[in-house]
Every structure is written in structure tokens, then in C-alpha cells.
């Protein structure tokens, strides 16, 4: 019997050590994640300005989100941003990764240039592009004029070009990460597969389609999931370019969440928008996991 008690006691000390090591992150999990998450969901069913009393309003916030014309526009803007940015990032990232890893000893040299915007803050990148896109002083517009386009647009103020222009800025900044991840994936592809394909007389295009892309598909899925999540949360550029006066066609959903929460102090309403954002991200990620069976190829 003494042995059983001993084992029990040892298990209990073991468990106590487990909780001890976990304590700092467990406090964080409860205080800064689970607690706020529950509170946010409660808030989304409430009306509250942060000071007075909180009142339960049922689904009013959730219905209100769809009755707000600006928010309807903002969802569209955000979706449009994602639809342009994510494929743009993945395709240009793959394109340059494919060639950069062929550069041999010069790969790290080229990588410096492509990765430099990645270590620069979005605010500094924003300031550089605020300049490059300003019609009065833009070297880009000047170049376009010299190429025979008489009236290049005021990129950020023109409702049709605002989102595409911000997409270009974000691709310029995000490209380096894509290249690094794709190069890592490409280096995992065994050269013997390529040599076998060469012996069989496969063309470069066939090798790309039949070997490279299938073997890279887990990397593509990972980057696609994380990029879509990031892209739906775009905020920094918008706020830096426009401060609080973004034109209706340049609002994104997070820009509006910040606006409703921290300028108008409609905490409940802003929380409801954030709940929708969460649900949309969950759905998009879930769909990609479901669709992966059709195209993602795992070697193990």
C-alpha cells in the first residue's frame, strides 16, 4: 500500500510542477485571451459606451451591422483587397522564389533587397509610398506621363484606384516573407526527382506543373491561410494614409472597428463587427482545410 501512496504523491508533485511551469502563460491565456473573448461576445449583444451601464440589446448590433451602408461598403472593400492581394502575393512570391533559388551564391544577396521592406515598419513603408503615390510629386506618375499617359490618377484619393494602390504597397512589403517561405519549400524538393523528369524528357513547364507545384502545395496552403487572415485585418496602411478621414471606398473592416470602438465608443456595436470578422475568418480557413483534399499533396 505504501508504494501506491508513493506513486500517487509523486504524480501529484509532477502535476504541481506542470502547473507551475504553465502559470505565466496560463494567467495570460485567461486574463488576455479567454476572458476578453467571452467579454467581447457578451459586449456584442450589448449597448455600452464604456462608462455608463451596459444594456442587453439582443441581436440589434448584429442586424445593425448590415443596415449600415458604410460597413456594407467596407466589407466589399476588404474582400476586394483580399481578392487582389492574396493571389498577387502568392504568385509574385512564387515567381521570384523560383528564380532567386536558381541564383546560387547570389541568393542571399538578392534576398537582402526583397526582404528589406519586411523588416521596415508599416508606418515607414506607408510614408515612403505616401510620397510615391502623391500626384504632385510622384515619380511614378511622372514616369507614366513620360510613357504617354497624360492623366495618371491620384492613386489614393481616386475611389477606383485606392484599394489597388494599397494592395501594391502591401505586396511590395510582404513579398520578402513569401519568397523566404517558398524558397524553403523549394529546397526540400529532392533534385533526384527533377533529374528523373529530365531523363524522361519533361519540359520545364511539365516539371513545374507535375512536380514543383504539387510538392509545394502544403506551403501554398499554409501561406494562403495565413495571408487571407492577415489580409482581412488590413489596417495600418489605411490609417496611416488617411488618418481618420479615409474616403468611403478606402475603409476596411478593421478601420471601422477602430473607428466605432475608439472614436465613437460604441463598444457593443464594434464587438459585433469583430465577431462577424472572426466568423468569416473561421469559415474561410475551414473551407480551405476542406478543399485541401482536392489539391494538397503530403509526402509523408
Amino acid at each position: 500500500m505504501a508504494l501506491a501512496v508513493d506513486v500517487k504523491r509523486r504524480r501529484r508533485t509532477e502535476a504541481l510542477w506542470g502547473y507551475a511551469f504553465l502559470t505565466p502563460q496560463l494567467i495570460g491565456l485567461i486574463a488576455f485571451m479567454v476572458g476578453p473573448l467571452v467579454f467581447a461576445i457578451v459586449l456584442s449583444f450589448s449597448s455600452w459606451d464604456g462608462l455608463g451601464s451596459r444594456t442587453f440589446v439582443g441581436l440589434q448590433n448584429f442586424i445593425g451591422v448590415w443596415q449600415n451602408a458604410q460597413l456594407r461598403q467596407s466589407w466589399l472593400n476588404t474582400a476586394w483587397f483580399t481578392a487582389l492581394q492574396v493571389p498577387g502575393l502568392l504568385i509574385t512570391g512564387f515567381f521570384f522564389a523560383f528564380f532567386i533559388q536558381k541564383a546560387g551564391r547570389l541568393t542571399p544577396f538578392y534576398r537582402i533587397f526583397f526582404f528589406a521592406p519586411q523588416v521596415t515598419s508599416t508606418v515607414a513603408v506607408g510614408a515612403i509610398w505616401l510620397w510615391l503615390l502623391n500626384p504632385d510629386i510622384s515619380p511614378i506618375n511622372s514616369l507614366l506621363k513620360s510613357l504617354g499617359l497624360p492623366n495618371p490618377p491620384d492613386w489614393l484619393q481616386n475611389p477606383r484606384t485606392a484599394i489597388p494602390a494599397i494592395v501594391v504597397v502591401s505586396i511590395w512589403q510582404g513579398l520578402g516573407y513569401m519568397i523566404v517561405m517558398f524558397v524553403a519549400g523549394l529546397q526540400n524538393i529532392s533534385p533526384t526527382l527533377m533529374e528523373a523528369a529530365d531523363i524522361d524528357g519533361a519540359s520545364e513547364w511539365q516539371k513545374l506543373r507535375r512536380i514543383t507545384v504539387p510538392l509545394l502545395s502544403p506551403t501554398i496552403l499554409f501561406l494562403s491561410i495565413t495571408s487571407i487572415i492577415g489580409s482581412f485585418q488590413v489596417f495600418d496602411y489605411i490609417y496611416f494614409f488617411f488618418d481618420t478621414t479615409a474616403p468611403a471606398n478606402a475603409h476596411t473592416i478593421v478601420y471601422d472597428i477602430v473607428n466605432f470602438a475608439f472614436r465613437q465608443f460604441k463598444f457593443g456595436f464594434a464587438a459585433a463587427i469583430a465577431v462577424y470578422l472572426f466568423l468569416i475568418l473561421l469559415a474561410l480557413t475551414g473551407l480551405q482545410f476542406l478543399a485541401q483534399k482536392k489539391w494538397v499533396h503530403y509526402t509523408e
Partner: protein
């Protein structure tokens, strides 16, 4: 010789790099197919680099040269005084200090708390281990915008609004991604190492500090780079939680500068250069570690 998975991963990376290097430039012999390849890569590199040059040289121009048509990259008259104007226009010295110490402190604390939790999840048996770990993973899906409103209220209750505590404590005490990343590596450390130490009388704390932590070097460096960069460049949280100038970090100062000097483009570019340059220099010096760190952090999720 025993080796951890992290060492193996690092060695594989190194081998792949070497193999690739010899693959591309076969003994340095020239191949005509390199010409289009390098033309393309040089063009791409220029597209990435010219905006930075534009920033730097614009910061050195007198204001009237900005409006020259067509725009010129190099200044006719060099005017480094713009940097003095920018330096005096906002409290850059304090902002540098704030950014360095916030990012540094968050990084160190994150590495400590995450490696502790990773060790618990990977090696210690306790009731609820699987469930709690599942919760950690599930939170990776929650967008920050959903929790930031309650967090703002909590920070208000704690009287942490407009203090750096609001920027340091939450990320240092909770980083599910870091816990997950490090747990993967702890699981790769051979159990025999711990058992041997345990027979020699080492307790959990000794094992953690003398065996586990040293073997986690590679992923800790990777996670550290990832966290530091994210904190250094962070704009959203400081914007929400800070109000007074003296607490501002570098991104907030640049944002404020843009508002105050909206037509003084040359000073704005000088301020932007001062904001971007330290990280760019560090990156050029330590580019391989930084790139591998980022790749490692990404590939394990």
C-alpha cells in the same frame, strides 16, 4: 553524440544551402541562361530598393527640389539639415528608447514564459494538459480586433492606459504561437538526457535551465527575432493604448510627424529614414539569422 531536432533542422538548412550554392554556380563556369535570370532578379531588386533610395535622397533635398518636374533622384543641393529639423520636430531620442526597451522586454519575457509552458506541455503530466493545449491552439484563430475592445476596458480598470505596461504585459504573458513552436522542439529533445539528469538528482528547474533551454537555442533565437520585429514595428496596439507624446514608440512618432508636417515632405522623409534605418542596418548585418529565424517560425506551424 546526441542531437536535438533543432540541431538537425539547422544542419539540414545548412546542407540545403550548400547544395543549392554548388547547384547554381557550377564551379563558377558561365552559362548563357544566367543572363535573363540575373536581369530579372536585378530588376526585381531595384523595384524593392529604389523606394528606399528615394526616401534617403529626398530627405537630403531642399523642399523646392521636391516639386521639380521631372523628379530627380539625387539632390542638386545637399541639405542634411532636414535631419536636424526632424530630430527637433519630435522626441526621437525618447521614442527610440521606448521602442528598444518595450520590444526588448517583451522579447525576453516572451521567451521565458513560452519556453516554460512549452516544457510543461511537452514533458510534464498533469490533468487537463491536452485540453489546455487545445485551447492555446484554438486561440490562434482569434483576430486581435475581437479581444482588443475588452482588453482596452481591462487596461482601463488596471489604470494601464497610456502606460507601457499595456504594451508589455499582455504579449509577454500570452503567445500561443510561441508556446506551440517551442513545444514542437522540446518534443524532439531525447528523453534519456532528462532521465540521466534526474537520476543524478536534478529537479525540474535544474533540468529545464541546464538541459532544455540550451538545446532550444535555435528556435529561441528564431522566436526572439520574430517577436522583436513584430513589437518594434507594431502600430495597432500603441495607437490604441498610448496617448501622450512622451510614451510614443517610433511608429507613433512617424505617424504624428506626418500629421504635423504634412507639407514638409523633406523633413517627413528624414523622420522616416531615422525610423527605418536602424532595423535595416541590423538586418543587413544579421540577414542570414533573421531570414532563417522567420522561415523557421513559419514552417513549424
Amino acid at each position: 553524440m546526441t542531437s536535438s531536432s533543432s540541431e538537425i533542422a539547422a544542419r539540414d538548412l545548412e546542407a540545403a544551402r550548400r547544395k543549392n550554392a554548388s547547384h547554381g554556380l557550377r564551379g563558377g563556369r558561365f552559362k548563357p541562361s544566367w543572363i535573363p535570370l540575373h536581369l530579372l532578379l536585378v530588376a526585381g531588386s531595384l523595384a524593392m530598393f529604389v523606394p528606399f533610395l528615394w526616401m534617403l535622397f529626398s530627405a537630403l533635398k531642399p523642399l523646392d527640389e521636391i516639386f521639380a518636374q521631372p523628379p530627380k533622384l539625387l539632390p542638386k543641393l545637399w541639405q542634411p539639415q532636414n535631419f536636424v529639423t526632424a530630430w527637433q520636430g519630435a522626441d526621437f531620442a525618447r521614442a527610440y528608447f521606448n521602442s528598444v526597451y518595450i520590444a526588448g522586454l517583451v522579447t525576453v519575457l516572451t521567451l521565458i514564459t513560452c519556453s516554460m509552458a512549452a516544457y510543461a506541455f511537452a514533458r510534464i503530466r498533469f490533468p487537463g494538459r491536452k485540453v489546455i493545449f487545445g485551447i492555446f491552439l484554438a486561440t490562434l484563430m482569434v483576430p486581435f480586433q475581437l479581444t482588443v475592445i475588452p482588453l482596452y476596458v481591462i487596461m482601463g480598470q488596471l489604470r494601464w492606459i497610456d502606460t507601457h505596461l499595456a504594451l508589455i504585459v499582455p504579449p509577454a504573458l500570452f503567445n500561443a504561437f510561441g508556446v506551440f513552436l517551442l513545444r514542437q522542439y522540446v518534443r524532439g529533445i531525447p528523453l534519456e538526457l532528462e532521465e540521466a539528469a534526474s537520476i543524478d538528482g536534478a529537479g525540474r528547474v535544474r533540468i529545464f535551465t541546464t538541459i532544455i533551454l540550451p538545446l532550444l537555442r535555435t528556435p529561441l533565437v528564431a522566436l526572439g527575432i520574430f517577436v522583436f520585429l513584430g513589437q518594434w514595428n507594431s502600430f495597432f496596439s500603441p495607437l490604441i493604448f498610448l496617448n501622450s507624446d512622451r510614451n510614443f514608440t517610433i511608429p507613433l512618432v512617424v505617424n504624428q510627424f506626418k500629421g504635423a508636417y504634412s507639407s514638409d515632405w523633406t523633413s517627413l522623409m528624414a523622420a522616416t529614414t531615422m525610423a527605418a534605418l536602424p532595423m535595416l542596418l541590423i538586418f543587413i548585418i544579421a540577414q542570414r539569422q533573421i531570414v532563417q529565424g522567420i522561415a523557421l517560425s513559419g514552417s513549424k506551424t
